[in-house]
């Protein structure tokens, strides 16, 4: 194996390792995902019929400038929506703790 081939293999492996580390979720994001699956997914992922309004999908919720409600897509606004509810979305006040909401927001940031 000549020097060039070894260099290419080393570079490819390094890039793969870097990408793997870069894409693995943090503990907070991982917990946020579990909370999302438990509390949010039923409405926001595949809502059943019978609701007054279809809840919006949350993919890329922080990638846009505005939330589906039209409010600015900021952590503060999303936290407020989760705690107080919005229109037919129920308030998660007292159901989710502050750290829970931090983890949820961290996970929502990962959605593209």
């Amino acid at each position: 194996m000549n020097q060039t081939v070894r260099y290419v293999i080393f570079t490819a492996l390094s890039a793969f390792a870097w990408l793997s580390v870069g894409s693995s979720p943090s503990a907070s994001e991982q917990r946020g995902r579990e909370l999302f699956d438990l509390h949010c997914a039923f409405c926001h992922e595949d809502p059943p019929a019978g609701l007054k309004k279809q809840p919006p999908k949350l993919e890329g919720v922080f990638k846009a400038k505005h939330l589906p409600s039209g409010a600015p897509a900021t952590d503060k606004q999303v936290r407020k929506t989760i705690i107080q509810g919005l229109r037919t979305m129920p308030a998660f006040d007292q159901r989710l703790s502050g750290p829970d909401i931090n983890d949820l927001v961290a996970y929502l940031h990962t959605l593209n």
Partner: protein, 296 residues
């Protein structure tokens, strides 16, 4: 069958399978609190079901008699929750008893009012802070249900309010029906669901038009009277870990002020509307003008 004959059959099969409404399966583990042979339903206090709901107490139908018969209140069970028809139908399958030792610890549930019995004339406070009594609606067919505004389960309170909103809209299309009917949504969480919270909640279901409150009250009352109303209609609810576990009850009250019909988890909006219109027509008490409320 040669290949040329087989292709359309395979294609048709794929097409038909795509047309069928998809079902979802979730694993449930919990304790049976109540069993109702009349409806083939059991009420289960279960743990978290990821993707479906957090820990909750809910009533489920068990269609398979072999699964339903052996179960007794107090049993710990495992089962599959099957959800179909976009979440409008769900039931339990593969019910297995894993522990029978709790059978003696479960208290019998309160006996709810029978069909034809008079509804208790208790006082409630609505979204505007005004008091009214259930007896104020004599002459009208009343559809009444129970929710709490923080309920996150789309097949429970969110569905109830969403479908009551549809009933409200449908009845409004026929003024005669609208005038002889009324909707009441009662919160069993009066500590959180104060009149301003109920008003905000109600407006979300009334397209932000407060005029709708004249036909649909969102109300609650003190803890003692709330329990009396809940017991009268067989509603179970209890607070646990920052949430309220509860069963689902819809009651149709006749224009005479008696219980005309109950529903739990299995109902359609059309069925509720038909029952309301039927009651409104058989009512023997002349419909009164909208109930008297004190101004202010």
């Amino acid at each position: 069958m040669n290949l040329r004959q087989l292709i359309p059959v395979v294609f048709l099969g794929i097409l038909l399978s795509g047309c069928q409404s998809k079902t979802k399966h979730y694993d449930l583990r919990g304790q049976v609190l109540d069993k109702n042979p009349a409806t083939n339903q059991i009420t289960v206090k279960h743990g978290d079901i990821p993707g479906f709901m957090p820990a909750m107490t809910m009533s489920y139908s068990v269609k398979d008699q072999n699964g339903f018969q052996p179960v007794e209140p107090g049993d710990v069970i495992t089962a599959d929750v099957i959800m179909a028809n976009n979440g409008n139908e769900y039931w339990l399958e593969n019910v297995r008893i894993t522990d029978e030792s709790g059978r003696k610890t479960i208290k019998p549930t309160v006996h709810r009012l029978d069909i034809g019995e008079r509804v208790p004339d208790l006082t409630l406070v609505n979204q505007d802070g005004k008091s009214f009594r259930l007896g104020d609606f004599k002459g009208k067919a009343v559809l009444l249900t129970f929710i709490y505004t923080r309920c996150p389960v789309p097949t429970f309170c969110l569905r109830l309010s969403g479908q009551f909103a549809k009933i409200q809209d449908d009845l409004a299309k026929t003024p005669a029906d609208f005038a002889k009917t009324h909707l009441v949504t009662i919160s069993f969480d009066p500590k959180y669901d104060t009149p301003p919270v109920l008003r905000k909640y109600g407006l979300a279901y009334l397209d932000n038009d407060p005029a709708g409150f004249s036909h649909w009250d969102f109300a609650s009352t003190n803890a003692g009277d709330l329990r009396k109303i809940a017991d009268a209609f067989g509603l179970e609810y209890f607070e646990e870990e920052n949430q309220i576990s509860h069963s689902m009850v819809i009651v149709l009250v006749s224009p005479e002020g008696t219980v005309a019909k109950y529903w739990s988890t299995e109902w359609t909006t059309a069925e509720l509307e038909d029952a309301l219109r039927q009651q409104e027509k058989v009512g023997i008490v002349p419909a009164q003008a909208d109930r008297q409320r004190k101004a202010g």
